[in-house]
Symmetry: D3
Subunit: 242 residues, 6 copies
């Protein structure tokens, strides 16, 4: 019997990535759990710019709204698109893989480095760390120069880049753990951890378990204040035109 249903939402349109992330989540959840996965119907195939992010957000929110029979949601893109908005439209716990990866890393190490794909993403990742109060814990956000599409453990070049930049971050910056800032790298985390000798955190595996932990502890998203139902605000016509 299924006791925990996780809604895993991929904000981009790459359904192979959705399947890979579903696999990662299923592997760590127990046999009484089920992962219901959904892929954005339209929008960017990978989310690498602020414009991509903005376009992916309403798709993500719409998927959360449509998936009403799950116990918790995992927004499976490292920039945590539509996270606050999703928390408004449901009482079920909502977790983003970005925040999840940082929560894990900050338990495993006092200092971590973040590996990302493109240099242009560095400022936004630094800003996200600051919003989560973790600036001091991070010794650097390091771009690898590998586009999202070429990631994944089966891509040797991308995996070699993780190892090379990871080793440098440990030796030169004092990184004690690594965070992989991309859902597409989730399947590389365990191997990289073994090869580098430090914890390598992805947000998919731990995010699925964090959602489970919140549900099992009986918590529901607050409906008082910032996350109150959108309809509860007087004069709001929300997304009727959408």
């Amino acid at each position: 019997m299924i006791e925990f249903r996780l809604g895993l939402i991929n904000p981009n349109t790459n359904s192979e990535q959705t399947e890979a992330m579903r696999g990662v989540a299923e592997q760590v959840l127990d046999e009484k759990s089920e992962v219901v996965a959904a892929t954005a119907a339209r929008g960017p195939r990978s989310i690498e710019t602020a414009a991509d992010h903005v376009i992916a957000e309403p798709e993500t929110l719409a998927l959360v709204r449509s998936m009403t029979y799950v116990d918790a949601y995992l927004i499976a893109c490292f920039s945590d698109p539509a996270l606050d908005a999703a928390r408004e439209v449901t009482e079920a716990p909502v977790v983003g893989i970005g925040e999840a990866a940082y929560i894990a890393a900050a338990r495993m190490a006092k200092r971590f480095a973040v590996l990302t794909t493109l240099p242009r993403s560095v400022p936004e990742l630094e800003d996200a760390l600051d919003r989560q109060g973790l600036t001091r814990r991070c010794v650097g956000v390091i771009p690898m120069g590998v586009p999202v599409e070429e990631q994944g453990i089966e891509n040797e070049l991308a995996y070699a880049a993780i190892l090379e930049r990871g080793r440098a971050a440990i030796a030169e910056r004092g990184a004690e753990a690594l965070v992989l800032a991309c859902g597409g790298m989730a399947d590389s985390a365990r191997s990289a951890s073994r090869d580098l000798g430090v914890p390598v955190c992805d947000g998919v595996a731990f995010g699925a378990l964090l959602a489970y932990a919140l549900v099992r502890s009986g918590l529901r998203t607050s409906k008082v204040g910032a996350y109150a139902w959108p309809d509860s605000a007087p004069g709001v016509a929300s997304d009727r035109g959408h």
Copy 2:
């Protein structure tokens, strides 16, 4: 002859508010300036929740993209939706009325208070102040309990609320200036300033002039790093599916 064309973009669907804001902007710009205004075609009629914000962002971005013949853009919603994304898709300066109002207030006073509509907006406004490094300058974000739709200077109740909460912020919290956190209040700023005896900053009037100032000083949005053209990122398929 027109020397400065401002693209004023209203992220919500309330075209009367668009016209009111256009009027405020035209009043402060000189006769060689023109304001081209656009209203979101769909989405929320007022933006009061994170869900509203998320839905309004791609509409805002699409309007920026479609309005290619202007010298600068003013995103005329206090939560500055799609501001970073807009800066990616153009070299013309882009200003948000939220950031503009804070820039003005921080020049006129050492400490200011922010008046907003609903209590649920307080945390997000506090977060925005923090992102702009202005937390210390603000003595409080104060909700007035008046929904966006009922704002505007002709609405006596809404205006009375500005005066009452404004007076309290000055007397009890040490506010030296006020920021009106809503495009719909823009037309009340001058009257309120006169009635309260302190600067009352709205982002529409000053935002239009700030955009003018950036253009006249010859600055263009950087195309290196975070605001590089979205197409310049390898492997990005941006919003082709949209």
Copy 3:
């Protein structure tokens, strides 16, 4: 068959509280989990001062060292005594109930209040929030004036204080969730959440599940840098004299 063994360590000497916390943890973990609980052999019966904290820390660390057959540790005192030290002496994940409660609250709400027992604890709790980067998320640390010993759901006075201070925090400070800053209040959290209509987070229930989540995701405490084995530091004679 037991798949997850949690070492729950009570840093104070109150074994009844240990049992109550064990009960809370067992209730949220599944039937394949086991909670092994231990109580400090000596030291303060409740930890309410910095002096108490200092005395409880080596006891806590000694219990972690002696309990070698568990998958993860939960340090079950809200001030998270010996947390960094514990992470040095084991590769198993170590979680503190203080950090756990804040992690849960920050997912359920944008703003929370913290209820504590004595006024003297307020500065240290504020400092702990700052260390975790959560100062902005907290609308206030509120003392209830109820000593630790008199807490617990069966104590009507203590429970009434939670409800009264909780209601005031919601109405007057904009709290959207509450954190109970004491292991002894753990059993009151669910009732209080029902009675107050907002999430009430204790660190015992969620902390046990957070430890489970870290273990299931395959993570181990880093042995590079700050959490390296104490013996790995050249010239260190650690606690040989102890």
Copy 4:
């Protein structure tokens, strides 16, 4: 007919620099604007130390006080001497070129670098960025080793230093824009921007326009609180002995 009169105040005694800065300001303001420029009568010829700054401040304040017929003031030294004091003695908006340059840069790019003259100035510039809440936006304050007196676009060595350090900041630190931290470099900004391919912000051109924007939006410096008239403080004998 003149509609906007800007009081440009050079806190140092170098009147050639005053003229150069007046030229930069006049170039960006329209034909209905007039720039009234004044040079400190005594004090340092360039402001490079805290001692210089302290000596230049009362001269700056005295010039603001004596120039009563202008609509706004621009304090044209990057360390913004006497900015708060000037705001006390007038209701007209007062802008410093330091703050102006940062405001411009933070709109054009997410991350910028600051180029300054001497290594000893780096800590004070870092502190000023922190006071303005912009520490996170700046990837480095970089000294060029060129004394103030040798700056200006006609000085080939100084200009070459801007290009060299600028290129390094873009390539190695992720700078997306540059700020020239010296009034004497103002005339190099446009050329450098063209040569480097990123926005190069000086505070003179944009500062003049920012002052114009504040005046046109109808704002006046608050006379409540920190910027109240000095005479309004009971028991103050201000500068009677001066």
Copy 5:
């Protein structure tokens, strides 16, 4: 024989206050110490505004420069005028009474309140606390509404205000110690401490001793970087025109 000569510099022109502060300093230093006091020759009689501060700074700096035969300097105005500049022109340690009072308070208590004279001073005092990294330690900067001139222990009204506001800060804000933000209150500190039952810190007594401590430990102001001799900067003509 005199082993320690302290140069106590009063940045305002009130020589009675100079004598009172000299008395406080002499009382805490031992018999081998001597206090050489100097009063600003011109400028404000009390420093209550930014304009006052700016005018007092070069006078303060000139006094430091002229007093070459002392072992250390104490700048005896709570806003620490010309502190950085003074450190440039001497190798002897320089201490400000503002920073001194905070250093003392932060050792005696985890949380303190600051009592000041006028409401307009609150923002600048908050900013100074922030520059010193002590924002979190302060529970409030509280104006007493008593002008500087009427302070001193013999003034019953002013002393009564200290006690009243002090008691409220302890009871309502959790203040554990008080800081008196004015040199003119220095002689009230001991009495107030006795009457209120918490440490009351003034910067004159402790500042004199802090200067002694720095001298006795053999430290000299760094002449590398920000505090290097002004003449060491190439192209600097410092205050030759003054």
Copy 6:
């Protein structure tokens, strides 16, 4: 006649280091002062890990409690073990050598570097700087790779490492002063300062004098709030079982 008795407490068990530190303190205090030194009876011989720190804390606290006849305490380990706890159990001022060294350095220079022994200590030292609000003042925490046991001025290798890392910090990072983050280096400070040409701050010499300054200014640790006597907390059974 002795007018000032300092209780110098060495939290580690190395009594030779105690004697060396006593010598440093006696050298800077005058002839009316006496240094009473005590060494931890058990625990680590040097404190290099969080586990060491935790074990040393109750020993430190016990020494403070047992040494009742002194005027002030100096906790002579750079990680300031049991500092808050010690302040609870006495009204006499308590100073840690870590905080003392930073207070001295921040008066002598605007930017300093910290030299420590082992790389693993870097994160905790960075955290301590942050707790004291000094993050911005520090240009880097630099490990020297020399174990505590091999420090001291007579150890040529250790001293050469101070000079080498110190020179690099000055030249490459803009350090204007150095802090030696270890009691065992105290005797090297003066020589290193002479050899490097910048202030080199140790916490033992200045810490002894800071304690003297606090005592002479008549201050006593607050017994209201966080540092109230442990017994004053209702329901506290402190360390009776210890």
